[in-house]
Symmetry: C3
């Protein structure tokens, strides 16, 4: 690979530098960092399971009177993934499913994952990880490197399952966090799902943490689920002390969250704290609050943001969402992620739609004379790759 992360293109004479090549010729070869993703399916789902995994919000089967394919994401699968499976663009859902089933998961992932053109995958293993490829296997299958992102809430739940006592909890969490992140590149919190982001984000006193732990551990049962605000705050502040980049789920996700309580602006009080200023804070997804996230990325030097997940789910509207994310946020503070989980279609589409959306957006600015072409290429590389390499020290 060339130093700037481009796959060398044998069709170009050696003396042509990036500055000589047009954006559209250059962008497909840019190797991305997908800074927040999950594993791809290790084994084939059935059709119902596949269609469910195209819907972010609901739990349970798709009603009979509708199709999961009748959405921007479903249309994007038929448009952009079908050709990689040897089908015409816009193949019907039935044809797509037949072909996918016929090829099997190994072949499907083998075609779709490398086509994403991702060099580093930062994998959150915290949700149904047993059904998915591990970070290592994902990287291998995709022709890149998998890295681990540790979910804070899972650590607390691990302590509960191990029978940790309330008095030991505050320090035990801190120790487990250090042990679990020895080889990790980041941590992640799903406070958005568990408590909402409208918390008092001050660091809780150890005494209060112990009291909260006593309550929670007493009720936690065999499948503990951390949703106590004091323990969530404790986890986040331990992570601040640990110093790795902290990813926050913000904005839309499945229906377990209250969307009006996961606006990233609700983190403002946390971001203002001096200790938090020293740690990169990554705002994930953000939609439909991506403009608000851009404001935070501009106002706080340690804050980064992306429009992952959204880019996949809005499909043909990805360019509009990407363009909106490029308003207030300094270009050094934007990142790429897919937030793909399950079907390798999502790992591929995240990258494919992002490339298409970003190229369309900056190309229009170049054409209108607002931006220069070298600047456009440089900014696209920052967002797709360089910012993440720097912030995660990859």
């Amino acid at each position: 690979m060339t130093p700037d992360g481009l796959t060398p293109d044998p069709g170009l004479p050696d003396d042509r530098t990036n500055d000589d090549r047009l954006l559209d010729e250059w962008l497909p070869g840019l190797r991305l960092v997908d800074h927040h993703v999950h594993g791809a399916f290790a084994a084939s789902p059935d059709r119902a399971g596949f269609e469910e995994s195209l819907r972010e919000g609901p739990h349970g089967p798709v009603p009979s009177w509708m199709s999961a394919f009748d959405s921007q994401l479903g249309f994007a699968v038929r448009r952009w993934c079908a050709p990689l499976l040897g089908l015409p663009a816009h193949a019907s859902p039935d044809a797509y499913w037949r072909r996918r089933a016929e090829l099997g998961e190994r072949e499907v992932t083998g075609r779709l994952l490398p086509a994403a053109g991702v060099e580093h995958w930062l994998v959150d293993t915290g949700y149904q990880g047993d059904r998915l490829l591990t970070p290592g296997a994902l990287g291998e299958r995709a022709g890149g490197t998998g890295h681990t992102v540790v979910r804070l809430e899972s650590l607390a739940e691990q302590l509960a399952a191990q029978g940790t006592g309330a008095d030991a909890y505050p320090e035990a969490f801190r120790e487990l966090l250090h042990a679990a992140t020895r080889d990790a590149v980041a941590v992640k919190t799903v406070a958005a799902y568990r408590t909402g982001l409208d918390l008092d984000w001050s660091r809780p006193e150890p005494e209060r943490v112990r009291a909260a732990a006593a309550r929670w551990l007493a009720e936690a049962g065999p499948l503990p689920r951390l949703a106590d605000p004091v323990l969530v705050r404790h986890a986040v502040h331990c992570a601040v002390d640990r110093g790795l980049p902290i990813q926050f789920h913000t904005g839309f996700g499945d229906r377990d969250l209250d969307l009006h309580r996961v606006n990233p602006l609700l983190l403002t009080g946390l971001l203002r704290q001096p200790r938090v200023a020293a740690v990169p804070v990554m705002l994930l997804h953000c939609y439909p609050f991506h403009r608000e996230a851009g404001y935070l990325a501009q106002a706080f030097d340690q804050v980064y943001c992306d429009v992952g997940l959204a880019v996949n789910h809005v499909g043909a509207r990805a360019a509009a969402v990407v363009a909106e994310s490029m308003e207030l946020a300094p270009f050094a503070k934007l990142l790429y992620s897919s937030d793909a989980w399950g079907p390798a279609e999502l790992h591929f589409l995240g990258a494919a739609l992002w490339r298409r959306a970003t190229a369309g957006t900056v190309r229009a600015w170049v054409a209108a004379g607002d931006w220069s072409e070298p600047d456009a290429r440089r900014v696209v590389r920052m967002i797709g790759r360089d910012n993440a390499l720097r912030a995660y020290r990859l």
Copy 2:
């Protein structure tokens, strides 16, 4: 009419199916369902009254230093309605008013209503219905069918006016609802105006309903106005039991509402309730929260949404708003409405601007290769017609 709701076009040979016709040729003939609308004026307003009815927000006359025509809606009236009255496009406000007054309301409605191309009008009769055409008269004048949508708050006010006692109120409301909706296709709530949507949406105990009714009925006076949160919740939960689709005003409207308290996301707690999952919930208008509404339509199988009212009021910006509404929402969950009230201009423009905006939006996706043309036509027909036929069992 053909089975797919298209007016047969004599200029097309019989063997040309929809798949052979281009979107722009096909869309003008698509017969819509306007799933939320009010009557058109039964008699001509004076000029001041006409101009007031072009303003959604304010109460009272237009100040002397401005013109109600100087808005996106006013420009759209001059652009798209003027030719139907025999004037050039962009006719001046004075010329438009003179011509309108000269023709009279019967002729104006006779020209504008049929031009909307609407087959089913779902008419909320709950606001100043005495000045407006009835659902039957509207359907007849327009060349379609009028249906009745019953406003929940009006039923409560009817009980108060009849002198219903507090003890009888809970059951009396339920009985009146059943009687009043015998021939209705849906109910509607204007909780947004009366209490805001930031309520505890749990089902209130009968004892609390009686207590609230006692308070309200004691104070209601000769023109009762339901604004008690407990009674609004009672009405909504009775409607859930009744099982008809429930329309919620959300988003902008006149200045009686607090816009920050009518975000459809504030209904999340209601939508999660198992009994509510069985009833179609229609989020009306939604602007500027239409992306949030799209999230709800994606997260909850029973939720639908539209950008009615907004499409008229944003005029030349309708395509941008329609495109934003087509991000997260599954295509089976989007609906068309005008929310027209009063001037037949609004009944016509709702449809005309929606067709233009939707065509422009999907045409661009087809041109860019993101969507196929058959998919585009199919989705437009779902939104404009088929989804409503299914959800309202028309």
Copy 3:
């Protein structure tokens, strides 16, 4: 100057009226009213200070791993200001800074300020005014007229610094307001920064004002900073009585504010008060709540709004933001401002980007047939000039 605020163009024959000229030919000559701005630097900043002034949000120096030029605003400076300093468009940050330093602040302001094409500058002198040109000097340097906007919070702080007693405070504030605004065209409040806008906006009783003043004055110290909600409300209601237009900071600004607490919708309760209906209320900036601001401008006859500050900071995205601001707001209620502070680049860019964004927006509507060209010119002149002349009685 011609009566419509256009610089006469000697290249056009006398008998060509505005109606004969195309928008693109006409708009560069339109003389604007910048209804909310600060002074330009009186003396050259150093490079670090210059770059800091390109960032709205953060306090303190730009981190070494990023550049303040890598933002939409930075790109706009290199694109649009560089040629006025004799550099090629898209000049590098180093080249730009060298050239700027070489020319000196007097030459830079002498080139950039007149190029804004602004006739009236309404200058808020309330923030670090000692580093900036006075309203008079700004007007003179720019070839226009400077006017004064008085910041309400500064008056309270002046009283505190003078040792005013709590008992005298309510009336002393009122008297100082009258004295200080004798030659002012408007007042401004930064309640957004000091208390947030989520206040009970009722008029406080004198007794409560005295009590709040007693607390505040006791703690105020040598550099008093008004952040007491009762005193802020008192100041605003005194301003309502004074009758001058009141400018409210709303939407984004530096990181001292909580963005989710400065949504202009939070002023709804204030705007509904009958006395407030008599006074023009100017919602500044508004981003990302400019659609919400447009709703308020439509719902309340006395409310105006702009997208100042945002237009500069979103650069190439200015057309998208301007277009969104032209949805619900009646055209008589939109205003132009730059909110420039410090570098004359911001005074120039505000106007240049607004012209470009607005022209692009309305030109597209004219090209699509939605608007007529004369209407487009008329609306642009209303927003850029006429609305402000009327509302501020200039």
